[in-house]
């Protein structure tokens, strides 16, 4: 763990489990975040299925910046800043489309699908001293992982795999095809986007296990289901300590990634058995068929169903990816991507879309109530008296998390399901990144193991 300066420790004290409300409000801290966190981290910008053909493009965001995610003629994915190098105008004004050129509407500077400046009026006579190759749209580094597209502005950042620090094992399980094969997922058309008046970190890390029973009480009462449409079951006994119960844990990484993990056991029911699909027969039948294949491919790990929240602003709910784009200290634009298997029958995709619409998004019976709480946080915290009161993240502070590789042959640090350990580790990482001058100062504390290593170890047990 990186030693924090006293000023940073005043904001985030993971030893005593407190976080200052200032980090959700203060403009200076926000400005620093844009430089230290968003300009240096790997950020989720989309999925390959959104741009299957050469020339396809889709608009996305990296922090406050608008970017174009584009596939060039050679099939490569590029991510570049949607800001003309001439006078700074928006170059692309469409959410998506297909074009090998992007022409700025101000003076006509023209860029190709790789972001290179390829044509500009008066070039022959007017720009004789200018090297066009230096004036393309600003390029981000790009990584494609199981079809998901990530980008960073930082040339010195570790590669994406190292950045994940072992969470790649979990990220892969969320993005792969239901049958366990690679790269089989697609994003349903229509990225759901909305504005929420709170700091982008309020919903982070997106793995909060202790809010559902009260935040989503109305969903349980009126629909008889939990927050994600699963039948309400008796709650796990919260009196026992971590290690004494098998089932479910909160899992975190020193790199700030967090998630919930249920340890797979032989005899776990197939995914189709989840009561969520009782009223959605096409999904249920599809899962029944594909889960058998998944078990053949992945063995015990087939049962692993994890949505890892990758630092800093990516989160998961089932097969739904949610990105918190900062828009000022007290404004967030949430973008939500809904995944299905590319080759699933249309009937199943339709049922899934319908399921997602009922629970997720701004109109979802579950998410409506999350928005209400998140929106109220800055309102109730803005006064000078409230601002001086630290927030409490002390749940199970006295229980050090278990070392996943030793205890379960699985990566990450395992804490009790009802614990603030994920939050503590997330904010600790946030503080480290905020104060670090360079990547050397925030290097991960241990080597990252690959997904295949973990898969082999676990199944070889």
């Amino acid at each position: 763990m990186v030693q924090l300066t006293s000023e940073m420790k005043r904001l985030v004290d993971s030893e005593s489990g407190t976080v200052s409300r200032e980090i959700f409000w203060n403009q200076d801290i926000y400005d620093q975040e844009m430089e230290q966190v968003f300009n240096r981290s790997w950020l989720f910008v989309g999925h390959e299925s959104q741009i299957p053909e050469p020339g396809d493009f889709v608009l996305s965001r990296m922090g406050e910046e608008a970017v174009i995610v584009s596939r060039s003629r050679d099939g490569k994915v590029h991510v570049f800043l949607n800001s003309c190098r001439h006078r700074g105008n928006r170059v692309c004004r469409y959410d998506h489309g297909n074009s090998f050129t992007h022409v700025c509407s101000f003076h006509g500077w023209t860029y190709d699908a790789t972001g290179a400046l390829v044509a500009l009026p008066y070039h022959e006579n007017g720009y004789d001293l200018m090297d066009k190759s230096q004036w393309g749209l600003l390029q981000a580094r790009v990584a494609v992982f199981q079809g998901s597209i990530w980008a960073t502005w930082d040339k010195t950042a570790p590669d994406f795999h190292e950045y994940l620090g072992g969470a790649d094992f979990y990220l892969a399980t969320g993005l792969m095809h239901t049958d366990g094969s690679d790269n089989g997922a697609e994003v349903l058309g229509g990225i759901v986007k909305w504005r929420l008046g709170c700091n982008w970190k309020v919903p982070c890390p997106d793995t909060d296990t202790t809010h559902g029973w009260i935040t989503h009480r109305s969903t349980a009462l009126a629909l008889g289901v939990g927050a994600t449409g699963n039948p309400v079951r008796p709650r796990q006994d919260r009196s026992v300590s971590v290690g004494q119960v098998r089932s479910r844990y909160t899992v975190s990484f020193p790199e700030g990634h967090t998630m919930g993990v249920t340890i797979p056991e032989a005899g776990d029911p197939g995914w189709e058995e989840s009561g969520t699909w009782d009223e959605r027969p096409a999904v249920r039948e599809y899962l029944r068929e594909k889960f058998e294949l998944r078990k053949k491919r992945l063995g015990l790990m087939a049962h692993l169903s994890v949505g890892p929240a990758i630092f800093p602003n990516e989160g998961w709910l089932g097969r739904v990816v949610r990105i918190m784009h900062p828009q000022g200290p007290a404004m967030t634009e949430i973008w939500t991507y809904f995944f299905v298997d590319k080759d699933a029958p249309q009937e199943g995709k339709t049922e899934l879309a319908n399921y997602y619409e009922l629970y997720y998004g701004p109109g979802g019976v579950t998410q409506q109530d999350d928005m209400e709480n998140w929106y109220a946080l800055p309102i109730a915290s803005k006064g000078p008296v409230a601002q001086k009161l630290d927030l409490n993240y002390q749940m199970r502070l006295s229980e050090p998390p278990l070392h996943g590789p030793t205890e379960f042959d699985m990566p990450g640090l395992f804490a009790h399901n009802y614990s603030d350990e994920n939050h503590r580790r997330y904010y600790q990482r946030w503080a480290e990144v905020m104060q670090a001058k360079d990547w050397g100062e925030m290097a991960p504390t241990r080597s990252a193991a690959t997904r295949d290593d973990w898969m082999t170890n676990r199944n070889g047990r």
Binding site: R93, R195, A353, E372
Partner: protein, 180 residues
């Protein structure tokens, strides 16, 4: 120039306008159970999203029903559940209830039983302006148009399909808790 409306058509439009205004009253007075009775059992309630696309590709503007994501894609069963949720008293997004006003205007009959919809059904287009004021200072406005298909059931009009076209791309409110 459209053909002149016959007296019969004018009367029908007045009847439909009155139905839509009555519906707005039920919603704004939080009489949700009575509002649910205005929908047939096989009703569809669909609100696609709108994307920024080239004016030459306007057919790609709206997300496609059942294939892509929507703001809402409901049947009677889920509308009933949403009302039940509001009535729990712990649906925080509507606790206390928001102050909501529905303005409905530009009511026009598109089809009255002779065209693509079945006999006894009519299609009606209208504009809406929905205003939500909540707690102290939360204030939202949604503007757009609706195309309803109404069916005569036992002498009363019922909504068997509602298409809601909201004039927003990024939704500018934190959530959608009310009905359109």
């Amino acid at each position: 120039m459209a053909d002149l409306l016959s007296n019969e058509e004018l009367l029908l439009r007045l009847e439909i306008e009155d139905f839509l205004y009555m519906e707005a009253d039920l919603l704004d007075e939080h009489r949700y159970e009575e509002w649910l009775d205005l929908f047939t059992e096989d009703t569809r309630y669909h609100a696609p999203m709108k994307r920024n696309v080239s004016s030459k590709e306007m057919d790609r503007e709206m997300t496609r029903e059942k294939i892509e994501m929507s703001w809402f894609d409901e049947g009677k069963d889920t509308l009933v559940k949403r009302v039940a949720q509001i009535r729990t008293g712990v649906h925080w997004a509507e606790e206390p209830l928001s102050r909501v006003t529905h303005f409905v205007s530009n009511v026009r009959l598109l089809d009255s039983g002779t065209g693509e919809v079945g006999a006894g059904e009519i299609r009606v287009k209208s504009r809406f302006l929905v205003h939500r004021n909540r707690l102290e200072d939360e204030d939202n406005t949604w503007i757009g148009n609706r195309i309803d298909t109404l069916r005569r059931v036992d002498g009363a009009w019922k909504i068997c399909r509602r298409e809601i076209y909201l004039d927003q791309n990024v939704l500018l409110s934190k959530n959608l808790t009310n009905f359109f």
